[in-house]
């Protein structure tokens, strides 16, 4: 069994008061809690800190931990001193038990099981519902549009028959109905942790996000795409072919289309599970050829002279 210095993990002295221990734990827990921490190692660190706190916050467990002695370095292999087990409770898996293949936290977990047993009589065989888990799922726009079937590879913690915790790899086939969009959540009933003593299995929650797409941007169930137009197309109007998730369609660009104008194609967005699908918006962008031929330059010059258009007329009025 490897020794862990719970005091060092929490950054407190061995004679720290219960209050100091609680404060140290809360500070570290806020820093590393997987629900708030951006640290990729946050979850590991939080588990370590929580394990240390679970033992040191309980006066009986803390006493038992202190009785292991102070002569060990963190990570060093050690065995509890003779008589420790009899004094502080029975080790787990009585009989063929060996201290070598057990984790320090299991030792204290078994201690609290022992305490509960003594106080509450025989351990009740109460049905316990399995734990729920959450996984992040990234879909392509095409998958969201058509609906898809995914093989989700998840590693869920499970207890074996001896009560030891293992990460069990599972492949769950999940049918994602069409109509998913960014930020939505789905629940797969009964695909979470196993229940105990006849309790129902927990659920698996899927946190959906959409992968960036080369052409479309999703906004809820609406889609946006940038529609590049030549100046004369924007000025004169044009019929242009644009892609949609269901294949290309023709879009009529009205004459006098300004940059930033949104041209709406109703019902060409992402489908909704119920009701009408979202829309597709083509956002007009006016682009110029990077290289002009002599003829093009000539025509532009001619246009510049013939036109009485004042694009900055409103600025001139403002300064007057």
């Amino acid at each position: 069994m490897k020794y862990k210095d719970y005091y060092a993990i929490l950054g407190v002295k061995r004679d720290a008061s219960a209050d100091d221990i609680r404060k140290a734990y809360r500070k570290l827990a806020q820093k590393y809690h997987p629900d708030v921490s951006k640290d990729p190692q946050g979850e590991e660190k939080f588990k370590e800190v929580a394990e240390a706190y679970q033992t040191l916050k309980d006066p009986e467990k803390r006493q038992a931990y202190d009785a292991l002695g102070t002569a060990h370095a963190s990570g060093e292999q050690f065995r509890p001193p003779p008589g420790w087990g009899e004094r502080y409770g029975e080790p787990p898996n009585e009989g063929q038990f060996s201290f070598d293949d057990v984790d320090l936290s299991d030792l204290f977990e078994s201690l609290s099981r022992g305490q509960r047993g003594q106080r509450g009589g025989a351990r009740a065989k109460r049905a316990v519902r399995g734990e729920d888990f959450e996984v992040a799922v990234r879909l392509t726009l095409e998958q969201a549009f058509h609906g898809t079937q995914l093989d989700l590879r998840v590693a869920l913690p499970e207890y074996d028959d001896k009560g030891a915790l293992h990460a069990v790899e599972k492949t769950i086939k999940a049918r994602i109905p069409k109509g998913a969009t960014d930020g939505q959540r789905l629940r797969l009933r009964g695909q979470g942790g196993k229940g105990f003593n006849g309790g129902a299995a927990g659920d698996l929650y899927l946190d959906i996000s959409l992968a960036p797409h080369a052409i479309f941007r999703a906004s809820g169930h609406d889609l946006y795409l940038d529609l590049a137009l030549a100046p004369w197309e924007a000025a004169l109007g044009a019929t242009v072919e644009i892609p949609t998730l269901a294949g290309a369609v023709n879009l009529k660009v009205p004459a006098g289309t300004a940059a930033g104008a949104r041209l709406r194609l109703g019902g060409r967005g992402l489908p909704r599970p119920e009701g009408t699908p979202g829309d597709l918006y083509a956002v007009a962008q006016i682009v110029n050829p990077t290289v002009l031929t002599e003829r093009e330059r000539e025509l532009y010059r001619e246009l510049a002279q013939a036109s009485r258009f004042e694009p900055r007329g409103h600025l001139a009025k403002g300064s007057a």
Partner: protein, 107 residues
């Protein structure tokens, strides 16, 4: 291990949950759900607790808040606050995504 294909349920306003169902989904007791309603973090439709109906969109925020408050030993009033903030963050993130999509141009 292959467990066959599972159909998924949307966790949004389309899925309606009773008091018992939302407590179970969030892994908290019914009395904690009632407290969250009293603090204004959850607003079910229906008059008495036995008639309450919740939209499932809040489940993820409540679950996260419950985990945090359990691990940080916070009271239910703090949990109510965390739920409200998480809901707000979720809304704002959706808004940012919307604006980004509409603005385009690598924004």
């Amino acid at each position: 291990m292959n467990t066959g294909t599972e159909a998924a349920f949307w966790m949004d306003t389309r899925t309606r949950l009773t008091l018992g169902e939302i407590a179970e989904s969030c892994g908290i007791s019914e009395s904690v759900v009632q407290e969250l309603v009293e603090y204004g973090a959850l607003t079910p439709s229906g008059g008495r607790p036995s008639e309450w109906v919740f939209g499932a969109e809040c489940v993820m925020s409540v679950r996260k808040a419950a985990r945090l408050c359990n691990d940080l030993e916070l009271e239910t009033s703090a949990m109510a606050l965390v739920v409200s903030f998480l809901e707000r963050i979720h809304e704002l993130e959706a808004q940012v995504r919307r604006l980004r999509s509409q603005a385009g141009g690598g924004f």
